[in-house]
Amino acid sequence: MEAVAQPESAAQPMAIRIRNVSQTYHEGHSSIQALDRVSLDVAQGSFVCLLGASGCGKSTLLNLIVGIYQVSSGTIDVGGRRVALMFQEPALFPWLTVQKNVEMGMRFRGVSAPERRSKALDLLRLVHLEAFAERRPHELSGGMRQRVAIARALSQEADVLLMDEPFGALDAMTRDVLHDEIEAICCRTGLTVLFVTHNVREAVRLGDRVVLLSSRPGRVVAEFPIDLPRPRSADSVPVTEMAAAITNRLREEVRRHGR
């Protein structure tokens, strides 16, 4: 299958355009190809889940989009949109209170102190943590920290939010609640999300579209539009059935590496 994304309806502007991006790492004498001619479009306001087994270069791709890494081959165009990135770990600054953590990005943009404060409190209200504004990250649970990280990412007023397996380390119950939460936030704000995960059901639960990447090197091998009505539940029958179909396709991919 050729690695070209399905064009979405022409009227919808694209938030991210990725064209033929390849990336190779060199480590001593060996080199690893992380991405191989990946092309992908993410429509503005859509929620796209990138799904793949280990070694599919998911995190590499996000780092390229946000500009931490330089693209060595191909192009990535975000059309001047502001892009925020959330990591697998909350990566909060342990010396700051929850509120100051959320203010950090605004501080770098030169937002005035009173505006920062009120904005941070608004965002904390959005993730239901306004009561914990003065707490420090270590006092919170993993799920709460990840919600602070969501608020911090949103504080960048980004149009595009990249999420790198953000709920991977959380217990199932907390993850379910956060799925509801992020869905509600996206619907309210019209945010474009590119969400990396290796959890198929999570991808189907959240995504408007699920993009399957192959491993070593990462390449787009299949795309699945998810036209299920929202709000969804990860345990509902249509989500489970869809997830089962995608899982089969994913296992096929993994088997190719097993011999």
Binding site: E8, A43, S46, V66, I68, A84, L85, F87, E89, A91, L92, F93, P94, W95, L96, M104, G105, R107, F108, R109, H128, L129, A131, F132, R135, R136, P137, H138, E139, L140, S141, G143, M144, R152, Q156, M173, T174, V177, D180, E181, E183, A184, C186, C187, D208, R209, P225, D227, P229, R230, P231
Partner: protein
């Protein structure tokens, strides 16, 4: 995509679930009473002091050395009381503390600049990295002959050696602290738009603070030591200082005064360490969740 999302609003039950999970995750802990906390920290220290005094008194009673060489604690504490009644003693303490503050302050400035420069530049690190560690291991008293040669018997000679003794430790502490910052925090900073000086001030330095404070603490110990060595050697007539008083006591074979001054020097060192650095370190550890609450 043809999915209508406007209908999705957060339900009240979701809000309640979130609040429920949060309340289970973050229990409210009743703060302990201050007096009890203080007593629990203080009694082992008091017991240790009592033990040392008893051992000292026992050695005096055993007659290991004549009393005019090794007086007992009662005699020495009476001497401390007497000393504290004289203006000369307080002026000596003031002089010594002034020198300590000036030397340590200058060392903080130099050590910090050096630490930032070396940790940020690969070339500077190659050039000066091991040099700083070498300087740190050099006994400061070995600098005094040179310092006296260059600065004569002056305040500058003392200041020079105190700064040289303390700043490598401070620089090394900061370098260590910066080296041990989790890369993820630096990436988080970069993603949030931290660049250059803003990144240094808001991300790098706070993240390196524990190592920096450890360096400051060690720097203080080195500067206090260097200062005492300096005051024994560089005696300025018009300015009585703790170290020079110690030297006079030895010359006069005034054992009670000598031991009394040693105790004063020790207590000042402990007080600075205990009141200043232990407080800062404890605060940092508590804030960052590095204290095991169960222990």
């Amino acid at each position: 995509m043809g999915v209508d999302r406007s209908a999705i609003v957060e339900s009240e039950s979701l809000e309640q679930e979130i609040e429920g999970l949060d309340a289970l995750d973050v229990p409210f802990i009743e703060p302990e009473r201050k007096l009890r906390v203080f007593w629990r920290a203080a009694w082992p220290k008091l017991a240790a002091v009592g033990f040392v005094l008893a051992a000292w008194q026992a050695i005096v009673w055993l007659g290991w050395r004549p009393v005019y060489v090794l007086p007992g604690p009662v005699r020495v504490f009476a001497e401390i009381g007497e000393l504290m009644g004289t203006a000369k003693f307080w002026s000596a303490v003031a002089t010594t503390l002034q020198r300590a503050a000036a030397g340590f302050g200058l060392a903080i400035g130099i050590g910090t600049l050096l630490g930032v420069a070396v940790s940020r530049s690969r070339i500077l690190r190659r050039a000066f990295g091991s040099f700083i560690t070498g300087l740190q291991s050099m006994p400061s008293i070995a600098w005094f002959p040179f310092a006296i040669l260059v600065f004569k018997l002056s305040e500058s000679a003392i200041l020079f050696v105190v700064v040289l003794g303390a700043s490598p430790s401070i620089a090394n502490g900061l370098i260590n602290g910066i080296d041990h910052i989790p890369p993820l925090l630096l990436r988080a900073g970069r993603v949030l738009g931290a660049r250059g000086l803003a990144s240094l001030w808001h991300v790098v330095l706070p993240a390196a603070l524990p190592g920096y404070v450890a360096g400051l603490k060690q720097g203080w110990a080195f500067s206090w030591r260097s200062l005492m060595a300096g005051e024994l050697l560089v005696i300025i007539e018009s300015r009585p200082a703790l170290g020079s008083q110690l030297q006079f006591a030895r010359e006069l074979s005034d054992a009670p005064a000598l031991i009394a001054l040693m105790i004063v020097i020790l207590v000042i060192g402990i007080l600075v360490d205990g009141l200043v650095f232990a407080a800062i370190e404890g605060r940092i550890r508590r804030r960052r969740g590095l204290v095991d609450e169960g222990a």
